[in-house]
Amino acid sequence: MIVGERKPIKEILEMIDKFEKVLVVGCGTCVAVCFAGGEKQVKVLSSALRIARKIQGKNVIISEFTIERQCEKEFVEELKELVPKHDVIISLACGIGAQTLTENFPEKITLPGLNTTFIGAPLEHGIWAERCRSCGDCILDLTGGICPIARCSKSLLNGPCGGSKNGKCEVDQEIDCAWQLIYKRLKQIERIDLLSEIIPPRERSKTDNGIPRKIVREDLMI
């Protein structure tokens, strides 16, 4: 899922400083599951902003609304009636949701209420970890199902850098060395031979070289 973290109240307050009628829009998908931008978090943020503005002695009218998927036009249309009644929108979705609001309601300003952090998984309640960089050219078949691009701090493809100590990454003792995990896993599935293959440099023109990516599926086009 896409994992996000709400921005600090102070930062959001500064963003909405000049506005009086604020619409806070949550998203019921990824960021709801990671407790950052769902219905409940919309309520919490709205209440906090109301209190903060009261302390500042500034008027504010805040409306709350959560749609199921902020990244899709069809769902965003639900806001059609609500948006014109407000000066500004705070999106509590990932960056995709926030941009979909901007594209669909260009007459209003949409501000980001969240930082979209990474694509990851919950490890335990309250802990999420990055698992995928959406590089566009998956090599999990070569690395025992553990992604070195997302989980090695240097995204190395041909084995450990030599900096890990006691199975932990040189940058942080909290981070497992991805190549140690890969090694253990390949041993477990009796595919240590895969470690001996030289994995060639990534074809970044096909993956993550900064150019916005797009998928066109003609079979699905109407």
Binding site: S153, K154, S155, L156, L157, N158, G159, P160, C161, G162, G163, S164, K165, N166, E170, V171, W179, Q180, Y183, I192, L195, S196, I198, I199, P200, P201, R202, R204
Partner: protein, 290 residues
Amino acid sequence: MSLRELFEKRKFVLTAEIEPPKGTDVSKFLETAESLKGKVDGINVTDQQSAVMRLGSLAACHLLRDKGFEVIYQITCRDRNRIALQSDLLSAAVLGIENVLILTGDHPCLGDHPDAKAVFDLDSVQLLKVAKSLGEGHDIAGNELKKAPKLFLGAALNPCADPLEPEFIKTEKKVKAGASFFQTQAVYDTERFKQFTENIKHLNVFIMAGIVLLKSAKMARYMNEKIAGVNIPDPIIERIEKADDKRKESIEISVSIIKEIQKFCHGIHFMALGWEELIPEIITRLNLTK
């Protein structure tokens, strides 16, 4: 004599690592190099080690080359993409720099610019392969070069890595990719070093054992805690701790380690970390004077 020739003639090779300055005052850097002239076969210049921004390795190598030193140009994958790395290798060649030590590089977050982007467009195995291909007249995209650079490629290995198997496999990959010589992580555990070199004998590469001059027990404990594959035995830590003259003891420790491993490697690579002035005495003590 070039590093390649020395190895091929089966000479016992000595190199020392020095770091370029933070800034443009190269006087101390050149002075340190001069103090080692005639004592070691080559000077190895670090590429912004520990991810600390400083004068570039290539420019520093060029200065030394001009003064008649055999140099080993260190290049890491941390800061440059494949275009810049290949270009720098060509630049090295036209400046008469043949020996290149190819490393992954420490992560930027460990250095003095922790917010810098970690590039790692290529890893060390891939860069070795790319450098080899440049030497054969082609860039990574397959384009032909107008005159190929003459390069002698080296890499790093850690004989005491834990676990050892992935390090062993990576060493084999580095050889397959083009590495002819290796510099090792600091050696203190001489038995494990001997074992590792025995295990890679079939690869037919030249091994330079890394010798880091111990300065204090504090440094030894820090290295044991933080540096991968370094396990300084307690008796050595005690020796440096009890010594009144740390420099003298540091020399003694280095001499005793080198004596033990000398027959199992093709040379010694000194990492003196500021105590370069002690290197000549170590060399004299070992009867390895040039």
